[in-house]
């Protein structure tokens, strides 16, 4: 790998509601990469994403982003730095219109100046949002809401986007659409960490992957190499 990693998570322990959820996790994201985190339900994938985004803070270890320590920062600080989490199920604001949801995405000061430009970009990637511009978010379908959540995240002008279960419960057509956008996002130079139940899909899109089991990283590496691992084959490809 060339140069410094964009994100460096070093040996973190994380507790969730008094119970330890992550043990000694180390993870890096290098510029230009899509990194996938895979594992069974309850393995700690979402906890790891939430910790990177500042929602939860590690009890031990450190998180560095662009060379600076961010271990104790809050989510709104992380957004200002360019780290944006698109949470599970999108969590768009139901009683706001599509346009208002996108508008609030550009709340941080860095993004405000680029609001019009980013809005054009979002409408370019997700033309459906422009059609639905004046609709309340609660009147959208699940897939449309997820698209809105992605668009809202893009409005924050991120350098690193974290997706928690991007495709969960959505139809294949919508999933394809979302992954098309994901590739476009990457082409724009935005880094991505992907947490997915859909292992085949996320391994197809990612450069590297970390496999979590019960709060530990059990395997990590380039996707092409991981595919060859017997354990991965058995667990995720049914071979």
């Amino acid at each position: 790998m060339t140069g410094e990693p964009l994100l460096k998570v070093s040996n973190i322990d994380v507790f969730y509601g008094g119970l330890q959820a992550l043990w000694d996790i180390t993870l890096t994201v290098n510029p230009g990469e899509i990194v996938a985190i895979i594992g069974a339900n309850g393995a700690g994938k979402s906890t790891l994403l939430n910790t990177i985004a500042g929602v939860i803070h590690p009890a031990k270890g450190s998180i560095e982003y662009e060379g600076g320590k961010t271990t104790t920062l809050e989510p709104f600080n992380m957004v200002a730095l360019g780290v944006c989490l698109v949470p599970e199920a999108g969590r768009t604001f139901p009683n706001m219109t599509v346009r208002e949801n996108l508008h609030i995405g550009s709340y941080n000061h860095r993004a405000r100046d680029k609001k019009e430009k980013n809005l054009q970009m979002v409408y370019e990637h997700l033309p459906l949002l422009k059609e639905r511009e004046n609709q309340l978010a609660k009147t959208l379908s699940g897939g449309e809401r997820q698209m809105l959540a992605v668009g809202r995240g893009l409005m924050s002008d991120p350098k690193l986007m974290l997706f928690d279960e991007l495709s969960l419960g959505l139809s294949p057509i919508i999933i394809n659409e979302l992954y098309r956008v994901l590739r476009e996002i990457r082409a724009r130079g935005i880094n991505v960490i992907l947490v997915e139940q859909n292992v085949r899909r996320s391994l197809k899109e990612a450069d590297r992957a970390y496999i979590l089991e019960a709060g530990h990283v059990v395997l990590s590496g380039k996707v092409a190499e991981l595919r060859e691992e017997e354990k991965v084959q058995k667990a995720y490809f049914g071979a």
């Binding site: 957004v79 949470p87 969590r91 709340y107 405000r112």
Partner: protein, 288 residues
């Protein structure tokens, strides 16, 4: 025909009074809508502005409405500080802790007013607030009309603020999903402090018009709170249009109740309607 003509007075007065009631309730509704907190000190905080207006007129011989030049910034800062240093911390303990704090603030203020302004009943009467004008058979106190116009202007301004500014949208977002708002770069605690401060600006304005309309004592905060609470229950929490309608229903119930059942039944009729609405439609007439 005569009957209808007789009714035109309570209906007109009820609508105008309803505007004032909506104004009283706006701040309470905003705080509840955003933080899910019933601010038990809302009436007493409003009363601070009322006493300030009273002092302005009696001590400095200035128009009571001018007192808002001081009342608005004082209550804004006061609201910000209460939310930031007391309520935001209390929220970490439990949902009840901030409620009890607002109750404490209410008691402290009530006693403070007794010390500063004595327990005596006061009123603010200016040349315009005691006058009335006639339209045919109707006699309308000028101050009622002033209350109503002020309420309309404030509600419109609040709506525009909530829709058009980043802060307004952030308050709206944090009220719908605090966690998601933080993930969009919004510092929820800071936005809460601003929301409370803005609610106090609304209280400051309402307080002056209340003082111009009704007599008051240091204990009046509670009765103003109860009116505001009734309005908010009727209209549904957190929406400006709902608060306005709630205010109108409350005002009309009071004046029509007085017309049909006598002055002593006024508030009884108003709260009977609140009671029925709570039973049939607990989310309020316009609640979501």
């Amino acid at each position: 025909m005569n009957f209808l003509l007789d009714l035109s007075t309570p209906i007109t007065l009820g609508i105008l009074l309803g505007g004032l009631y909506a104004l009283i309730a706006l701040g309470l509704s905003l705080v509840f809508g955003v933080m899910k907190l019933i601010n038990l000190a809302h009436g007493d905080l409003m009363l601070l502005s009322t006493y300030l207006a009273f002092t302005f007129m009696n001590v400095w011989k200035l128009d009571p409405i001018l007192s808002l030049v001081i009342g608005i910034p004082v209550l804004f800062v006061f609201g910000f500080v209460i939310q930031k240093y007391l309520l935001n911390r209390a929220f970490k303990i439990s949902m009840e802790a901030p409620l009890i704090i607002t109750f404490g603030v209410s008691i402290i203020l009530e006693n403070l007013y007794q010390i500063l302004w004595s327990p005596q009943a006061r009123g603010i009467s200016t040349s315009y607030s005691i006058r009335s004008f006639g339209i045919g058979e109707l006699h309308i106190p000028v101050i009622y009309l002033l209350d109503f116009v002020a309420a309309l202007i404030i509600m419109f301004a609040l709506r525009e603020f909530m829709r058009r500014t980043y802060l307004g949208q952030a308050i709206n977002a944090a009220s719908q999903d605090r966690g998601a708002a933080q993930l969009m770069g919004i510092n929820a605690n800071r936005v809460y402090a601003f929301a409370f401060a803005i609610a106090m600006v609304l209280a400051a304005i309402a307080g002056v018009f209340l003082g111009l309309t009704f007599p008051f004592t240091p204990q009046s905060g509670v009765s103003f709170l109860i009116i505001a609470f009734g309005v908010v229950v009727l209209g549904g929490l957190g929406s400006i249009a709902g608060t306005f309608i709630g205010g109108l229903v409350m005002g009309l119930a009071q004046t029509l109740g007085g017309y049909f059942f006598g002055a002593s039944a006024q508030m009884f009729v108003a709260y009977l309607i609140v009671f029925v609405v709570l039973g049939v439609r607990p989310q309020g007439i316009f609640g979501r």
